[in-house]
Symmetry: C2
Subunit: 201 residues, 2 copies
């Protein structure tokens, strides 16, 4: 996935560091909101010119898509790993609760959820990627719950798919509340309450 840098050996050497630009953009998008950060602002923060950015990413859509990919790689992957870890139902739910209500990286919310909430404001590439990730997350939640169901306890009359969607939305809600400055303990209390439906006799 990485280097297609055949060392051009001709022409002015590039000073722009795409990784650094992605970092700057990801931080800015994440800390505030993709819809509230302009390409101009990113160029300024990254100390590059606009044409440089456009030559690298093609468009604002291309940039935000690249940022989202990076975010999925660096942050979301952890959640997928936790879901796939084969730990028990209660233990995994506890880990999810910890992540959503206490992980310091989620203090300003989750970039993916911010993008999903403002889906209609995204370009087509980024929007498509958001939908793909959303589907993958739902599938991962469903697989996790299916395993738990096979292993024993499960509330009567609840489909795995509905449970997966419910679980995902509750986590999204909790993290979104983090971004709005809600008290961490409160969020933990509410998320624990919401997820208690999975571990009720």
């Amino acid at each position: 996935m990485s280097d297609d840098d055949p060392k051009p050996a001709r022409g002015r050497p590039r000073t722009m560091n795409a990784e650094k630009v992605l970092d700057v953009a990801m931080t800015a998008y994440w800390q505030s909101d993709p819809a509230d950060v302009s390409v101009n602002a990113i160029c300024q923060m990254a100390s590059i010119s606009k044409p440089s950015l456009y030559r690298e990413f093609g468009s604002e859509d291309g940039l935000s898509r690249a940022v989202l990919d990076r975010y999925a790689e660096q942050v979301l992957s952890e959640v997928f790993v936790a879901l796939d870890g084969g730990q028990g139902l209660r233990q995994t739910l506890a880990a999810l609760i910890d992540f959503a209500s206490a992980d310091p990286r989620m203090e300003t919310g989750c970039l993916f959820y911010k993008m999903r909430a403002g889906k209609h404001r995204l370009g087509p590439e980024t929007r498509t990627r958001v939908e793909e990730i959303d589907g993958a997350a739902q599938a991962a939640y469903a697989a996790f719950l299916q395993a738990a169901r096979d292993a024993g306890e499960w509330p009567d009359g609840l489909s795995v798919d509905a449970g997966a969607k419910y679980l995902g939305e509750q986590i999204a809600l909790a993290i979104t509340q983090r971004a709005s400055g809600e008290d961490k303990a409160r969020i933990r209390e509410m998320l624990t309450l919401a997820l208690s439906v999975f571990t009720r006799p």
Copy 2:
């Protein structure tokens, strides 16, 4: 609250109907999102000129604030009435579930929740009003739950305030999902599951 129309008796008679403008703006804000509807667009939809709008409402902030007040009067009041109705816990929760997951007016979401979600993009007047309404809603939920608690069943170890916040956020989540085209039955299923924590033995 209504008529300060002392019949000016002089000058060119006004053709602008403030009520109609509010209706147009409320519909537009509600159907899409306040952040995605410009003053220009509203003027065009209402067939008035921009200065007419600004003379009536002062600013975009003034307009959105007036729209929010109208929305609170016309829509949110019903929810407050339902909470205040003194019906039992289960019955009132069922009514809330119906409203959130099936009321046709919520098919494109709730204007108040849209404003709250994009609070930072609102002007100061409107933002203040959003916070006032949010506080009032939380108080109403808390009063409702307190009454239910006095009347009997209540999950151990859950404070009324936390329960009120939880209840409000679950309803907000359900209605927001309506706006994103989620299946009504699914939403009802998930909201019922979330609120089942209040009616568990």
